[in-house]
């Protein structure tokens, strides 16, 4: 294991790593532009066969490109921020982004590339990063960081990161990490997020919390009844369901279809089935927890037992499941590529019931004006991302309504003293 990724067993080891970072962040500054150069090279180095099997690697490579990140930096931190310049504001004042210091990252355990994604957000703000790596993601993270080391011969970024591998249960190590940081980016499920939020952070520590959320998809009648577009739309839905085994906050758990006289949702789900089968052939699961298999079997059975009007499509294995019924309530998510398709008479019905737990709304709406109305309604009911079907996982700021880089910088205003 390289020295950047460390198996940690004591709070002292956490403090040591943080002290190393503190020295670097106090002694040197880095502009987003310099950071981008290394990230671009890193992205290129990730194209080889060693990392090809890591889920999300294609997306990570795209994320690390200058073309992706430069507009984000400019939008969040302002013109000139790329080169560490002050941005003129109004009158005599100008603004500039400064790092908060050391940013601690607590990624979720279900997204292989998330430790890296979160870390890059901290680095682009000029921060040093202390990243807790869940044990299950250690090997993938090790491979990814190995490529960074190759791409960063001057140590511009590698001196500013330490990745700490330890078990979720080690509260003493979480505490030590929380005490060492000036900001925290926290990702994950309800229990994990609640536990991390309650750690003894310094009173000045910034906190950006992402998750837990679920996501839904919706199609108006004109979209799903359009036979010429059906296959492509179903392919997009399948893509959104497949990524991250439907365990991400941006994964659609339910698809609402607006009912249309003369058109059968049964026909639509048959097309969806074909798309699911095709996606499964391309991206079959390699392993599976028995607990998830159990949950999928339970979801299938309880759906069909509880209402004889419900129907379902599924293969003999746990590969995927489509549950079809009526209603505007979001059923409890099963995950594991189990999509509930619900017919509603008007898409406003389910949107009116959203409670803030929904992060992303994937849409296919034929009428742009109607889409505006529905988007506004969803946004006012707590939805933070409203995107086209097929793009529900495209990671970009704002995420959960929060800017990714700006959340971990101080925007300093200088009002010139001369009249």
């Amino acid at each position: 294991m390289n020295d950047l990724i460390r198996n940690i067993d004591s709070p002292e080891e956490v403090s040591t790593a943080a002290a190393e970072l503190r020295q670097v962040v106090d002694a040197s500054k880095i502009t987003p532009n310099a950071c981008l150069e290394v990230l671009e090279a890193w992205g290129n180095a990730l194209g080889g066969p060693e990392t090809a099997a890591i889920p999300g690697i294609a997306f990570l490579r795209l994320w690390l490109r200058r073309n992706t990140l430069e507009p984000i930096i400019t939008r969040e931190l302002g013109q000139g921020a790329l080169y560490g310049k002050w941005m003129e504001d109004s009158g005599r004042s100008h603004l500039k982004a400064y790092p908060v210091g050391i940013v601690g990252h607590w990624p979720a355990g279900n997204i292989e590339i998330q430790p890296i994604l979160s870390m890059t957000c901290g680095l682009l703000g000029g921060n040093a990063c202390l990243v807790r790596v869940p044990r299950g993601l250690r090997d993938q993270t090790y491979q990814l960081i190995g490529k960074l080391i190759e791409s960063d011969s001057d140590g511009l970024l590698t001196t500013r990161i330490r990745l700490l591998v330890f078990d979720h249960e080690r509260l003493d190590l979480h505490r030590a990490m929380a005490r060492s940081v000036d900001g925290a980016m926290i990702w994950g499920g309800e229990e994990a997020v609640s536990e991390i939020r309650s750690l003894p952070f310094a009173h000045w520590a910034r906190m950006a919390v992402f998750g837990p959320r679920i996501s839904v998809a919706a199609m108006d009648a004109a979209s799903w009844c359009n036979l010429s577009a059906r296959e492509a739309l179903c392919r997009r839905i399948a893509r959104d369901v497949w990524q991250f085994d439907q365990q991400a906050c941006s994964s659609p758990q339910v698809l609402f279809l607006e009912r249309e006289k003369g058109h059968s949702a049964d026909d639509f789900v048959q097309a969806l089935r074909a798309a699911f089968e095709a996606e499964n052939r391309i991206h079959p699961r390699q392993t599976m927890d028995a607990a998830l298999t159990t949950a999928i079997c339970q979801a299938r059975a309880s759906w069909l037992l509880e209402d004889v009007a419900n129907s379902a499509l599924f293969p003999a294995g746990p590969d995927w499941t489509i549950l079809l019924g009526q209603g505007s309530d979001i059923p409890p998510p099963t995950q594991g590529k189990t999509l509930t398709v619900l017919e509603v008479s008007d898409l406003q019905e389910p949107l009116a019931k959203l409670d803030g737990n929904v992060q992303t709304l994937g849409l296919a709406i034929a009428d742009p004006e109607r889409e505006e109305t529905l988007a506004s309604m969803a946004a006012s009911r707590g939805v933070d991302r409203i995107v086209q079907l097929g793009r529900m996982h495209v990671f970009g700021p704002p995420w959960d309504g929060i800017d990714l880089i700006r959340s971990m910088v101080r925007m300093v205003r200088h009002v010139r003293s001369l009249d």
């Binding site: 279900n110 837990p212 509880e306 129907s311 737990n357």
Partner: protein
């Protein structure tokens, strides 16, 4: 008696471990298909489930292709039954801890009768037909008369046909905890020292209330002809770092018998009438009126010899609830497809543990709706 019930009884009349896997499948598959059809005729929801199964049951070439229910679907109250409420004679409940929901198994008279007959056939194969004094390491209240009976009560009662007399050696104290009735136990041991004796207790109860205290005092009951059957989970014992070997040796020491007289059996109320005692080789076998399929969690396909997976239990015994094909939350390993050295035909398997608790993971883990701000 209906034709279906008569066919179940025919299968019950066959010695439980006599058929080869091929002959068993022949006898079993056709009957199960008819039972599924019967169950569908009794419950519209179940019919809807079977109708959506990827393999049409009538056309299924093997038992493993038939529609199975996850066992948790039997955690319904009122119970998920195939008979009218007035036909339910007894409801069995699975063991559960605070906050958990138990399974509720509706038994009508014919199912209850078959359950008793089936357990007797299995136990007879292991212990012989002889009746003997029966020592129950539990309280008499475990088999209290009433509309509901727990897993412990069902297991105790299942062995009653082998009893000439029944002695319970625990009693509840004022706090509801169990206490060993030492004089009663010692009296029983003295009276039946040289006889063949049957003992039954839940695994952790046997250990906690009988073996551990008597071991500490080096008490031996000197009952060399005893057979000790036990069932129930190992979790509490594992928490105390007690493995099967030390458990068996502890029991053998206390009863003054050889360790091979301790027989662990796997069973669950949802699979009424079928119990799976360990054979002399340490394997569990399936009687002719049941089947066990071990499925790969990745594909749900049956696994091969030496492989582990999720346990599906199958039984032709129930007609009062849909317990014919149940996917459990247990994990087992297939040891052999046939030919165990103990002489019992059919698969031999070993229980491995429980499927870890199912939970949503990661950033999509939402367990509750949000409360509106006050």
């Amino acid at each position: 008696m209906s034709a279906l019930e008569a066919r179940i009884d025919e299968l019950l009349a066959i010695p439980p471990y006599a058929l080869s896997p091929q002959d068993r499948e022949l006898a079993f598959l056709a009957l199960l298909k008819d039972e599924l059809e019967y169950a569908c005729s009794r419950n519209a929801g179940y019919r809807n489930y079977v109708r959506h199964w990827p393999v049409e049951p009538r056309a299924a070439p093997k038992v493993a292709d038939l529609p199975y229910l996850p066992v948790s679907l039997l955690k319904a109250d009122p119970p998920f039954a195939l008979v009218e409420p007035h036909e339910i004679k007894k409801t069995l409940t699975s063991s559960f801890t605070t906050g958990q929901t138990p399974s509720r198994i509706a038994l009508d008279s014919p199912t209850a009768r078959r359950m008793s007959k089936a357990v007797a056939a299995i136990v007879q194969d292991f212990l012989g037909a002889q009746r003997r004094p029966y020592l129950v390491v539990d309280v008499p209240g475990s088999v209290a008369q009433g509309p509901e009976m727990g897993a412990r009560g069902a297991a105790i009662r299942g062995l009653m046909p082998f009893a000439t007399e029944v002695t319970y050696c625990l009693r509840p104290d004022s706090t509801g905890d169990l206490v060993l009735e030492r004089d009663k136990l010692l009296g029983f041991a003295k009276t039946h020292r040289d006889s063949a004796v049957l003992v039954y207790g839940f695994t952790y109860i046997l250990w906690q209330y009988l073996v551990r205290p008597l071991l500490a005092e080096s008490v031996s009951l000197e009952m060399p002809n005893v057979h000790i059957l036990h069932s129930g989970g190992w979790k509490r014992l594992q928490d105390e770092a007690v493995d099967k070997k030390s458990f068996n040796h502890g029991l053998a020491q206390v009863f003054g018998c050889s360790a091979d007289r301790v027989i662990d059996f796997y069973g669950m109320v949802e699979n009424v009438g079928v119990i799976y005692p360990d054979c002399a080789e340490g394997n569990k076998h399936v009687p002719v009126f049941g089947e066990v399929i071990v499925r790969d969690p990745l594909t749900l396909e049956p696994v091969g010899e030496g492989e582990q997976g999720m346990v599906q239990v199958c039984s032709v015994l129930p007609t009062s609830f849909p317990g014919h094909l149940l996917l459990t939350e247990d994990v087992a390993e297939i040891v052999c497809r046939d030919g165990c050295r103990c002489g019992r035909r059919g698969i031999g398997f070993r229980f491995v543990g429980r499927v870890p608790k199912s939970e949503l993971r990661g950033c999509g883990n939402i367990r509750r709706t949000r409360e509106p701000a006050q």
